[in-house]
C-alpha cells in the first residue's frame, strides 16, 4: 500500500502570514494532485504537478513536486480567510492506473 503523509495535520495562523504544507511518501508517484475541501463539500482540484522538480503557481499558492517524485509541497503567501479548508494531496502510483492514493490531509484555519 502506498501512503502519502501530510504535515502538519492541523495549522492555524493569522491572516497575512505565510505557510507551507508538506506531502511525503516513500514511493514514487507519476504525478501529484492537490485538492481543497471546504466543510460540507467535496474536494476541489487545485493543481496537478507532473514532472519531477516542477513548480506551479496559482495566485498566492505555489506547488512543487520533488525531484524524486516522492514528495510535494504547497506554499501559501499572505494567507486569507478564504484559504481555510482541508488540503489533500493525492497521486496515482508510478505505472499505476486511475486509482488515486489520498494523503492524510492538512486542516488549515486562517484567523482574520
Amino acid at each position: 500500500t502506498q501512503l502519502l503523509e501530510q504535515s502538519p495535520q492541523f495549522l492555524s495562523i493569522q491572516e497575512g502570514e505565510n505557510l507551507t504544507v508538506y506531502c511525503n511518501s516513500s514511493s514514487v508517484f507519476s504525478s501529484l494532485q492537490w485538492y481543497r475541501q471546504e466543510p460540507g463539500e467535496g474536494p476541489v482540484l487545485l493543481v496537478t504537478v507532473v514532472t519531477g522538480g516542477e513548480v506551479k503557481k496559482l495566485k498566492r499558492l505555489t506547488f512543487q513536486f520533488g525531484d524524486a517524485r516522492k514528495d510535494s509541497s504547497l506554499h501559501i503567501t499572505a494567507a486569507q480567510p478564504g484559504d481555510t479548508g482541508l488540503y489533500l494531496c493525492a497521486g496515482p502510483p508510478w505505472g499505476g492506473n486511475e486509482k488515486l492514493t489520498f494523503g492524510t490531509g492538512t486542516r488549515l484555519t486562517i484567523i482574520p
Binding site: 467535496g42 482540484l45 489533500l88 493525492a90 486509482k99 490531509g105
Partner: protein
C-alpha cells in the same frame, strides 16, 4: 459548469435497510469512484469503475456493492446498512490521466 451530482446531501436510514446512493456526471468521464470519508481515516476507496458494467473493488468493499448500467451513472448500494457505515460518502469522476471531479457528498447516518 461540469458537475457530479449526488442524489442526497443528507440521509438517515435504519439498521438493516438496503440503501441506494446515486451519482450522476455530465462530463462523459469514463472513470467513476465511490469513497467514504471519516475523521482521522481520510478518504478510503470503496469501489471504482473504468467503463459501463465494469467495476473493481477498492480498499474497503465489504458491505457495499455498485452498479454502472450507464456511463453517466454510478450507484453505491449498502446491502444491509449498519451503524459503522455512518459516514460521508463522496462520488467522483475523471477522464483518464486527469484529476477527479467530486460531488458534494452524502452524509449518511445509520440508526
Amino acid at each position: 459548469d461540469v458537475k457530479v451530482t449526488q442524489s442526497s446531501r443528507y440521509l438517515v436510514k435504519r439498521t438493516g435497510e438496503k440503501v441506494f446512493l446515486e451519482c450522476v456526471q455530465d462530463m462523459d468521464h469514463e472513470n467513476m469512484f465511490w469513497y467514504r470519508q471519516d475523521p482521522g481515516l481520510g478518504l478510503r476507496l470503496i469501489y471504482f469503475s473504468y467503463d459501463v458494467k465494469m467495476k473493481e473493488k477498492g480498499d474497503i468493499p465489504e458491505g457495499y456493492s455498485v452498479s454502472r448500467e450507464k456511463k453517466e451513472r454510478f450507484s453505491l448500494i449498502l446491502e444491509s446498512a449498519s451503524t459503522n457505515q455512518t459516514s460521508m460518502y463522496l462520488c467522483a469522476s475523471s477522464r483518464t490521466g486527469r484529476g477527479y471531479t467530486f460531488g458534494s457528498g452524502t452524509r449518511l447516518t445509520v440508526v
